[in-house]
Each structure stands twice: as structure tokens, then as C-alpha cells.
Symmetry: D2
């Protein structure tokens, strides 16, 4: 067993019990049914070597982590122009808040807020032939796994309960910052939230962000070095909801979390790491997952700072 | 001339004209009188070598950059305990806003907001014999310059016009998050804002943050590696007022700015860099200074991401 | 000509030119097309005598004035219970703001805000067989005019541009404070906003509020005296958007305005008065209409204070 | 015993037990010491006849009720001009909130908010020789009682704990909406809050507001009829903190309350009424006092609506 594998084992043992202090997301029934005791962690290095522990091969709903892939696709499609329609500042408010959107006249603070992701969806609908199929194909290609797909049960749940997101979409439209039909934008958004992946797939799919924009598996340039740096900056300042400051302080890595309990993070020029534990802290980030990442950076001394 | 020195020359030439799009801070008369065309930049490497260009040896009012030194002192004095009284999240609002303070019941969002810095001042007044003298001595020691001092004219100006800060102090006191006399806290705060330093001194004084907490000049351990990483995280997420997201996106370095037109930034395990140009952008950061730092990271390819 | 008729003539002459300082509502195309120079005023006394001047017999879109009739219907249907789902405090914010709704967890501040009127619509959909038909019948009965109806062009315009209201409805639903289908609630809401009436009809229809709850034309008890007093209190504190304080200060009568340029007001135990002039002040109330009402109360000395 | 006296007796019996559901103000020690079971009520008619019951002759701290007298004095001194520096809209927020003040750039929403009263104090300091002495003389004259005075113990308590008000004053000053020394403004403000009066004095002193601006006791014209109507409108829309809507709805009278547990209200052309019961509801109004006024208007059928 490699040193890294041993470290992951130790972290699983230490982090798994922390989950008891968190709460599994209940806002959609399909998420509430996920067993709270699942815990997976996986590291994929630039050379492709994989280290995994716990439930690292079980798929879960990636939820907001999908926003990382859609903003990447939007940057590829239209470049910096997306920042005319969405900001890149931390919000200081909850991920689905409407307040700031009103104050700032329909310009979401960043693309990782729900409102911002709806604008990104609108951008992709305008820039890509079959926008969602292309997004899914992009994720499968990055993860090296053709079976990644939408979880239909989660999708139905999202659709049936997505009133807050429908409110955001209508609100954006009232400011003129949504150009496609509200139903089409919501369909795209709910579908991306419902994609299921496992920790190994998730870590592998983010590896281009640790490699100055080039996918090390395929050699494909996904983003320019400058765009890659910028997506990492976005993750660090806005990737973990209204806890980005705490997360940067404790963990010190660019990361993106989802209310399904997943978090993916990168250490530039080294590796990507994904962790999954469903119970969340009050800000909506995986409690034991954040703990595990803090342990990982403390034990290895690897951080961007 | 070293490659770095040549780069700095080029950056000065490119960045200086940008200043015309900014506005010199007018909130205190003493700042409004500073010539708008000053521009200095200095890099100090871990081995002590200095590269400087423009007005890098002229002192200016460091203003909010002082908050970097006082939060360091507070961490040294009482450790993580300071975060019971002040958060570490980006604010999403202006640096002197009272709104968030009211919503969050007297706990400032981070120590780089004015309200947070007042709480830090209160911490230091309780933890240190002669708190301000010790802060000044600490800065002189880090900068290797015994003549660094308060600019009396700026201090008088701060005192005469500091109603907003007096409001914040009284407000914090009403929530019980200030324990010393309001006058004493304000005196400390106004004094630290009025310290004058030049770019070389500023870059040198921040070098411990690029060196895992050890001052390379004296060999003294200022912060533990973990604390050092955390102060850098604070700078990245909260160091440039309500533009931390934009700044991380464009520049990608932990940095702290001041309304006097100075910005100091660090590249871990490499160097510290300071820049000065008085005209500010609408968020209160040196316009040409931010531009210069973006050029620097783009030309060198050095970034934390 | 009666003294009152003479006064109305004089007021028309004085008030009509004021309209030039206002702006006709442009948020829906159908309203933007109304001629800005229309001006009508009508007084109906408890004994049924009518005094009218200007364009008092031309119908216009009553818009938010309809909220006065729907809240009356809701009180008749389920009594005070409606105040479990909507407050009765002035809002301090714009009529279609989402901010306060978020802070107060889906309970609109009062039934005259758009969000509050959507909740009232939901109440009526649950309490009445054919809720909108009954509302229209109620208005026709009060006004003594069987031809009052929805303006189809305005209705189409409302539907085509009502994204902000759709956002509010979805938002309310996300808090569980809407129980019927969003489309049904919006259909009711848009229909009531699109009702067209003239000044005489409007003044006559509000007469029960000047008569302790009894319709003087039919003798029917519409509200109990206590409910009548309460609806008047609601009008005074919340009836003119975020200008209720100014309006009470200047005019001193319970009143309800609409962005179509209409305002209806009552003087208890005397009369009801309606005025119409399309150009609005920045708060959304008819500019010349408010002016005319201020003149009316000043000339007659009639006020509730 | 008159019918009115009998009614007051009955109301005292019914209302006094309600006080148990409220909480005595604790924000200053001197108020927290007042016995919670005190209950007084007094009606003074335009002809001077007095009806009183319970502890109607025991003095208490009038607190914010003083704002009614100071805004009257300001209107007498400089007329409508005060509304260039303070609004007249209900606030929708707590009486000592700083939020709205920041959003609206230092213009308090109305003169009954603490911030608004500080601006009124500043107006009076500029317009009157010995501003506070004149205010006190005015109150004594209206109440017909030369012994009304400041309660020194309350004043000391206000001064020792008034950090929130000091924050407001400094904040106003930072916007330029305070022209006198902060200490002078606060001294005036704390002194007016500390005036002690009893229910009979309070009702009598407000009688000019029920008499179109003329003090019926002295025959002196205090305000023009128009100004009188306007102060009543201000009381109705802003007189009971953030519960003005509820209060208008339940009671239907122009009124001003204070956290000492007093409320004074007027019925134009009839009478003034004052009630005192220290325990407050969550919005800061006397709980049993509001209840008593609701009973009074329901029993008598007297209301402005």
C-alpha cells in the first residue's frame, strides 16, 4: 500500500464518525433517502495513479459540483464574456438567496450560486447545439467513464420541488438576464444537478484544473493556463457556498461542494481529490468531507498557500 | 539588471498610465493631497534580494494594510480564539458597512473589515502591555527599518473625520463585542491606519507569509506554518475589500490593500511584492496597482493556482 | 352646479398640468399606450349623489386597486384567518420586492404588496367556487355596473411580461405559502389587475368603506363595522406602495392606488372619491392624482385626522 | 361615575392581566426596575374633563413619546424644512436599526425612529436658544404641570448604556446629517427620553392634536390645522415602531408609544387618551396598553376610520 493510500485509510477512520454531527440534505426526497454513513475518498495524481478508500466507487448525486463543469464549458464556448452576465465575487448569503440578486439588478454574484448557474445554463443553451448532451459528454470524457448519467429519481425530485429555482429563473428573466425559455433553462439546470458520479470519477474529471488546463488522461487542452487559474480562483473564493472563507482558512484548496455530500478539490501541479459523506454542516457542505480535506492538507503539508 | 528588475521596469511603464482611470481617496484630507502620479513597485525574495522600480522608496499611508499586521499580532497573542469574536468570511459589502454587523449581531465577518479590525484592536489592547508600541515595533522588525512611524498629519485627519469608525465602535460595544473604552480602541485603530511605509519596507515585512511563518531576515518564527497558511487564506478571500473574488480571479495571489493606494501580496515559497499608486477603483483598491500585479503574475506565470 | 362640482372643476384645472412631471407606467406595453393627458375625478356621496369632472367616465386599468376588492372578499370568506398567511405592516420596500419576503420566510408584509395579493388570490381560489367570477360579480354589484370587465389587451400584456410575479409565486410556493397551482394563482392575479373601471364606478364601489361596511346603494352588509375599520386602516398604512407615510401626511385619507394611474379614497361617513391620471411619481402613485386629493382635503378641511 | 369612567374601570380589569404575556424593557437598568404590575389609564376630553383609572397619577419614563413633542417643536421652529433631513415613511425595521440608514444615505425614514429623533434634536439645537429647557417648558405648559422633569436615575442609565444611539449619531454625522457636536445631540436626546409624566399629564399634553392644533387649556395655537393633521398622520403610520400597521388595524388611532410602557393616542375632535403598563410586546409597545386601547375603541365605536 502506498503512503497516500495509507493516509486515506487513516483519514476515513478519523473522519467517518464526524458525519454524525451533520444532517443529510432533506430539500428533495431523493437525497434524504441516501444512507448517512457512506464515506468515500479518492485521490488521482497527474500521472493517473488512483488512491481510494471507503465508498469511493459508489455513485452519488453531484448536485452543485456540476456547476464546475458547466462554467468550464461556458468559458470554452464564449470566453470571458460570461462575466458580463454573472459576477465572480463571494456572495455572503445563502446559495439560493434572492436578496442579492435584487440589489444587484439581476446579475448573480458568481456562477456557483443557483442564480449564477441558471445564467450559465442560459449561456450554454445559446452556444451549444445540444447543450446538455455536450455537457454530459464532456464530463464522461474527463472522467474516462461512458456510463456516467443523470439519476432519474433525483431528477424527478428536483423537478417536483424546484420552486425556489423557478423563482430565481423568473426573477432573472424579469431583469432580462435570461434569454431562453424558463422551462428549458430549468430543465438543463435540474439535469446537471442530477448527474451521479463516484469519488474516483469526480477526482479524475477535475484533473485538468491541477494541470494548467490540460486533461492529463487525453492530453486535450480544456482551458488555457490563464482560464484554468481563474476557475481555481473562483472555486477558492466561491466554491463552498457561504463558507468559502472558512474553507479556505481550514483547507486551503480550490474546491467545489454539492449538497449531495460530495466535494472535489485540486492541488495545482499535483493531484485532484474527491470526498463523499452525505451529512452536511449548516452552510451546506459535507461535514465529514470538509474535515477529511483539512486532515489531508495538514498531514501532507500540501496547500496552495 | 536582473530579469525581474527589467520586468518591473516594464510593468511600471505599462501600469502607470492606468492610474488616470482611478480616483484618489478623498475621505480624509491628508490622503486627498497625495500626488496621484506616484507609482512604486518592489519585490523582495526569500533570500533578501530586492528589486524595485518607480517610487518604491517613498513612504505612503498604509491604511488597511496595517490590519494584516494587527491580525498577525492577535493570532500570536491569543491564537484561534480571536475567531470567536470575528469571522473569516468575505463580506459581500463595503468595508465600512454597518448592515452585516447588525444582521450578524455584532460579529464582524472578517478581521479586514473596519469593524473586524476594531475587534482585533480590542483583543490586542487586552493582550499586550503597550499594544500599539508593540505593533509598531513588530512592523519595524519585520521591515528592518527603525524609522517607520505614524504620519501625524494623517492621524489628525483620521481622528477629525472618523465618525463612521466611531459609529462602528459604539455599535460593537452595544453588542458587547468591545471591552475597552471606545476612545482607546479608536486611538489604536487610527494610529495603525496612519503608519507610513514604502514599497520595499512593505514587501520585506510580509516575507514571513511567503516563508511558512518564519521571518527570513531574522530567522524568527512569527507564525506556525498552519497559522501562516491561514493568514494567506484570509488575504485571498478577504484582503481586497469587496473585490476579493475579482482580485483572486485576475491576480491569484493572497494580498492586502489599503485606501492609500498600497497593495502587498505574497507568492508562497518565493517572494513578497508591494505596489503603490494612489488612484483607486470603485471598490477601494489601487487601480494601477491591481493592474501591475495582474501583469506580474501573467508575465511570470507565478500564481498559487 | 353644486359647490362640490365647482371644487372638482377647479381641482382638475389645477392638477392636470402637474401630470407633466410624472411618467406613465411602461412595465407592460398596454399601459404605456394610454394617453398621458387623461384626467378624471369623481365623488360619490353616501346618499348616492355623484359629482364628476374631466375624464371621469372613461375606463382605465385599475391594476393594484383590485387588491382592495380581493382582500375584502377574502375577509368575507375566511375572516381574520387571512392574517395567518399575510401581515398588515407597511413594507418599507417596493411593491414587487422579493427581499422582505425572504427575510420573513414567505409571509408577505401586507395584502397590497404583489406577494400579498398572490396569497389572497390563493385564499380565494380555496374558498370560492369560481373565485374570479365571484370577484368580478362583487365589483359589478358594488359599482352598479354590469359591464365592468377584464381588458383583454392588458391581460395579454400582463401574462406576457409577468416574470417578476411568477418569481414571487414560485418563491411563496417554496415557503409553502401557496397551495394552488402557480398557473391558477397567476391567472387570477393577472385577471384582477386587468379589470377596467372609470372614476365614477370606482368611487361608488368603495362607498361601503365610508359607510361602516354597508353598501349604501343596495343596503347589503359587505363587512362588519370592525372589518370595515380595519380595511381602511390597511389602506392608510399600506395602500399607496412605499409612499404610504407621505400620502397619509399629505392627503390624510385611506386610499388605494394602481399603476394605471387610478386612486380611490374614502372619507368615513361622508363619501368616496376616485381620481385618474396616468403619469406616476417615482413610487408608482398617480402624480397629479395625489396632488388632486391633497387639494381636495385641504379645500374641504375633510380628513380623518 | 360617568359612563367613560365606568368603561375605564372595566378596561383596567380586563387589560391588567394581559401584561403577564409581555416583558419589561431591560435595555437600561433603571427601566428594568419598574414594577411590572402597574397599570394606568386616563382620558382627557376637549372641555378639560378628566377620567382616570388605575395608576393614572404615577409618573413613568415617557421614553420615545418625547419624540412627539420634539417633532412638534421642530415643526414650530422651522416648519416643513425638517423633512429635508428626515423622511416620513414607516420603516419596516426596528426602531434602532442602522440598516435602513445606510441604504438611504443618512436620511432616517421618519422622526420617530431613534435616528430621526437625533436629527430632530440637531434641528432644535440649531433653532432654539436653550433647546432642551424650551422643550421641557413646552411639555409642562401643555400638561398644565410645572413639576414634570427629567428622572435623573433614568438619565444616568441612558447615558451609561447608550452605545447604539452613539453609533447612530456618529453614523448620521458621517453622512453630514448632524451639525452639532455628537455629545450635545446625545445629551438632548437622552434627556428627552428620561422625562417622567403620568397618564393624566400625558393625555392632557396631547390634546392640541385632537383639537386641530389649538391647546384647549390655554387657547394657544400650537400647530396650524394642516400641521396638526400631519403630525397625527405621522403617529398613525410611524408612531408604534414596526407595529404601526398592526396598531392601526387593531386600534385605529394616531398614537405614540415608548418602551417605558406608555402610549398616548388622540381621537380628533373628541379626546386624548394615555395608558401605561410596563411589559412590552416583541415590537416594543406596551402589551396591555395596546390591548386596552383596542378595547376602548371597540366599546365606544370611536375610531378615525
Amino acid at each position: 500500500m502506498s503512503a497516500l493510500a495509507g493516509l486515506l485509510e487513516a483519514i476515513v477512520a478519523e473522519a467517518r464518525p464526524q458525519a454524525a454531527r451533520g444532517t443529510v440534505a432533506r430539500y428533495i426526497p431523493a437525497l434524504a433517502r441516501v444512507p448517512a454513513d457512506r464515506f468515500g475518498i479518492a485521490v488521482v495524481e497527474l500521472d493517473g495513479s488512483v488512491h481510494a478508500s471507503g465508498d469511493a466507487h459508489e455513485r452519488f448525486s453531484i448536485q452543485s459540483i456540476a456547476k464546475l463543469f458547466s462554467v468550464t464549458q461556458a468559458l470554452r464556448a464564449i470566453g470571458e464574456g460570461i462575466f458580463l452576465r454573472v459576477g465572480r465575487e463571494p456572495s455572503g448569503t445563502a446559495f439560493n438567496s434572492l436578496v442579492q440578486l435584487e440589489v444587484e439588478r439581476g446579475i448573480p454574484r458568481n456562477p456557483f450560486l443557483n442564480a449564477g448557474a441558471l445564467v450559465v445554463a442560459d449561456v450554454l443553451l445559446g452556444a451549444r447545439e445540444a447543450a446538455f448532451d455536450e455537457l454530459l459528454a464532456f464530463i464522461r470524457e474527463r472522467a474516462g467513464s461512458g456510463t456516467i448519467d443523470v439519476d432519474r429519481e433525483v431528477l424527478d425530485s428536483e423537478r417536483a420541488t424546484g420552486f425556489r429555482n423557478a423563482a430565481l429563473a423568473n426573477f432573472l428573466r424579469s431583469f432580462g438576464n435570461l434569454t431562453h425559455g424558463i422551462d428549458a433553462v430549468l430543465a438543463f439546470y435540474f439535469a446537471q444537478c442530477s448527474i451521479a458520479m463516484n469519488c474516483v470519477e469526480l477526482a479524475r474529471s477535475a484533473l485538468f484544473l491541477a494541470n494548467r488546463g490540460v486533461c492529463p488522461r487525453t492530453g486535450e487542452r480544456v482551458l488555457t493556463p490563464s482560464q484554468c487559474k481563474r476557475v481555481n480562483a473562483l472555486m477558492l473564493t466561491c466554491g463552498t457556498y457561504d463558507a468559502a472563507g472558512d474553507f479556505a482558512y481550514e483547507v486551503g484548496l480550490p474546491a467545489k461542494s454539492g449538497v449531495g455530500g460530495g466535494i472535489v478539490a485540486v492541488i495545482p501541479e499535483r493531484l485532484a481529490i474527491a470526498v463523499w459523506s452525505p451529512p452536511l454542516d449548516p452552510k451546506g457542505n459535507s461535514l465529514a468531507g470538509s474535515f477529511a480535506l483539512e486532515r489531508f492538507t495538514t498531514h501532507t503539508g500540501w496547500s496552495i498557500f
